[in-house]
Symmetry: C2
Subunit: 218 residues, 2 copies
């Protein structure tokens, strides 16, 4: 094992430290966030920080930096109060990564990156037609993380659109079956393999392996 | 595609909704959090919400519910101000999942789940010997998410211990090479495959595929 002290991290060059520290949290979710401003200008941004906050009410969060390349997304969410979260799939992950480039405000990343905006009836923000799992979100709260000038965007799920055959009867969604990708660091993209579900853990019981549908194996 | 409205989610049974909504964020990080209280009582808890907050200073966050099964972890972090984050690897993910059972406070999950606590010189919280990437964390701030009674635990990286051969010269850590797992929903465990790195995106440049070490392919 190699040991890195705080001073070792401090002495790294900025880009090296960014690559290193971005790998520490483990695998990240891969989503693109769709937004639209008042003048119908669309925006799409890849985000690797979407995180589950609670299931009742159904809340998801993600981390943003107000002054970063994703500032148009931030401003559109503040202005409209809605956004979409779209799983990044194997079929379009390179186009999704390209949304991280610094496009001017008047250019839609949907156009620039060859992705298709579509709309759910009455919902202001565009979703990504290429995605197999899309979520309509309503902004609940923007919580500042003052120590490092970021914020947690907290939202409530308003609707979910998902390929029907991957939703199991017990509620589990086979996102591996959807081809949803996962991200490492700033630029690593991975497919997953060999899903195993495990039974609910209790102190005095052996764990059981479950099939995707939640039934005990063997 | 199947469409779920807000009212469809509200009508699900609690466990079904929990399984469904926990899959929506995409793939999650798989980590176990090691803590120790003042009386040297250790605790270990699996957490799927660790998220990158920033690289300079190096900040990681994770989401906790004060009254949940992880309340001992919460209390130990408040009391001692330190904790470890340990990547869950293929070799011990079932033992890591077992830490989610409701053990009594006086029982260490290290013992109950057959995992090995070890200590970094002068650092109060135990790390997991079986893990190939362990991080010593100092609590910075606990930020309440009032709308759903959870909190974001914000911490700063104090040290990192990682298998040396996976750290690339540009700073990227090959966590797929480490065997780090990723989680879907409440109970799905996955290995990853076929890492691809992509070049930094710029508006007028084609993306390039990179080797693990950051060099352009082909």
């Amino acid at each position: 094992m190699k040991h890195y002290k705080q001073s070792d991290l401090a002495q790294m060059k900025d880009r090296e430290r960014a690559r290193f520290v971005n790998c520490l949290s483990g695998f990240k979710s891969a989503n693109v966030i769709g937004t639209r401003d008042r003048r119908q200008q669309d925006n799409l941004a890849i985000v690797s920080s979407v995180v589950h906050l609670g299931s009742n009410p159904p809340f998801l969060g993600f981390v943003m930096r107000p002054q970063s390349v994703t500032r148009h997304t931030w401003e559109n969410i503040e202005e409209s109060g809605v956004y979409t979260i779209n799983h990044v799939g194997e079929s379009f992950f390179k186009r999704a990564h390209k949304t991280s480039a610094r496009y001017p405000r008047e250019q839609s990343e949907f156009d620039a990156c060859d992705l298709t905006p579509e709309f759910m009836d009455g919902f202001h923000a565009p979703y990504v037609a290429e995605s197999s799992l899309r979520i309509g979100m309503q902004l609940v709260e923007i919580i500042p993380i003052q120590h490092n000038d970021t914020a947690l965007i907290v939202g409530e799920v308003r609707w979910v659109d998902v390929q029907e055959d991957v939703v199991q009867s017990d509620g589990y969604i086979d996102i591996e079956g959807l081809g949803t990708m996962t991200i490492s660091g700033l630029d690593g993209y991975h497919s997953t393999s060999r899903a195993v579900r495990l039974s609910y853990a209790k102190p005095d019981e052996e764990l059981r392996e479950l099939h995707i549908n939640g039934e005990t194996k063997g």
